[in-house]
Symmetry: C2
Subunit: 252 residues, 2 copies
């Protein structure tokens, strides 16, 4: 049985204020919950009997059995599946020196939750484990973002904080890449196996203060070069093309 | 003045049935409407005085002046801007033989309107002018798709129809590419300047009937190869990585 208060508490996790207070987030669906269990502390499981039967070892502080109708009252999805879970937000610690050894991403105010989720999925695909996010970047724990990561958030760590001090304190040998419409052809540059790639806001790109710290300015060339075209690619799409090229050249 | 009937008519274009009956579609916003005017027949313009003042040559069968409050009653957007327009759907004719000379895309049931809009924008960036869409692919003229194309739909033509007969009738020398999780490394293949790239449904990929006609099976390798990772990339993201690689190798 799911009490009214419990439903209210679950649904409040749609709002960042409550997610912060509770240091928790909501995930829904058989595949996603299955991917996140074991990676994050589970505070609450709300699922059908069939789900529990097929997941006998699933651990949570509290487990509630519901039918589908009850579940749909707590769900934020249009088409609720047989399980939802509330997880504790993890706290990660990551020294910026990781960029000496690994390729990392930084997001300068990426605002759309769906774009952020897609970028986390891209990072996972291309073996990028750390994403540094400006404070105005969409919240990873927004339920829309959580769903869009398709489970990739179990393997990629996001670190929120101002980017300028981070960039100011970086060891000088860390290459800092960014994409600009007047940058240099991505395919004519030496790309490194470690360093930082900065991606900007959907409408305004990379902010001036952050851009000052970028020492390798890249452009994804359109085709044929100079043809009239869209003014830009979607930020998640651009992230994918750039990451694919970094990994292609390094793994040859 | 915007009559109740006119508002109802405009808003009815959210629905495919009405868009088909009216052979029309809705576009909103200064930038998008500006990009589409001159490319599509404009049936109706609804805009503020300031917008008309800055677009003195804008042609339409009917022009209505409104204030922002009136505009918001007709708008489907959360944050309506100063103009919306209803355009006539164009009718394109395209012989499949175009694939002998140009790189084209085919979409096998891409269902999300946002993904479709993003793919149109990607096609435009990479100089792909024709996209062949299965009947169950999202409708280009869905207002969400129109907005997501960011104007790229002015330069890319979409052709809806069953893919299997199209593929059956292709000249044998047209290479037909598709991405599969068990395909061959994208970066170890010769890629051509003309031909067809098939992208599949978000959940199920390329259908078996279509897959039978694909003679070059591609995989976007993850990094490091074989690492545990997300099961797949978003379809628009995969389209971008594949198109970028085709254009990179051809333009070298």
């Amino acid at each position: 049985m799911l009490s009214k208060n419990k439903i209210k508490w679950i649904r409040s996790l749609e709002w960042k204020k409550f997610r912060k207070e509770e240091e928790s987030f909501l995930a829904e669906g058989r595949k996603l919950v299955g991917d996140l269990l074991g990676h994050f502390d589970c505070r609450l499981l709300v699922a059908t009997e069939e789900w529990y039967a097929s997941h006998p070892t699933a651990q949570a502080d509290e487990r509630i059995v519901v039918d589908r109708e009850e579940l749909s009252r707590a769900s934020l999805l249009k088409a609720p599946q047989e399980v939802l879970a509330v997880f504790r937000q993890p706290s990660y610690v990551c020294a910026p020196e990781v960029m000496l050894d690994e390729l990392c991403l930084a997001l300068d105010d990426v605002q759309d939750p769906g774009n952020l989720g897609t970028i986390v999925r891209i990072a996972d695909w291309f073996g990028i484990r750390h994403i540094f996010c400006s404070p105005a970047t969409a919240d990873l724990y927004n339920p829309k973002t959580v769903q869009a990561t398709m489970g990739a958030m179990a393997r990629v760590q996001l670190h929120y904080g101002p980017l300028v001090p981070l960039l100011e304190d970086l060891p000088a040998e860390v290459p800092v890449y960014g994409t600009f419409l007047d940058g240099d052809d991505l395919y004519a540059q030496p790309l490194s196996a470690a360093g930082l790639i900065v991606m900007g806001n959907e409408g305004n790109g990379i902010s001036a203060e952050v851009a000052r710290h970028i020492n390798r300015r890249l452009l994804i060339p359109n085709y044929p070069k100079g043809a009239p075209t869209s003014e830009s690619l979607n930020v998640a799409v651009a992230t994918a093309v750039v990451c694919a090229e970094f990994r292609r050249t390094v793994s040859r």
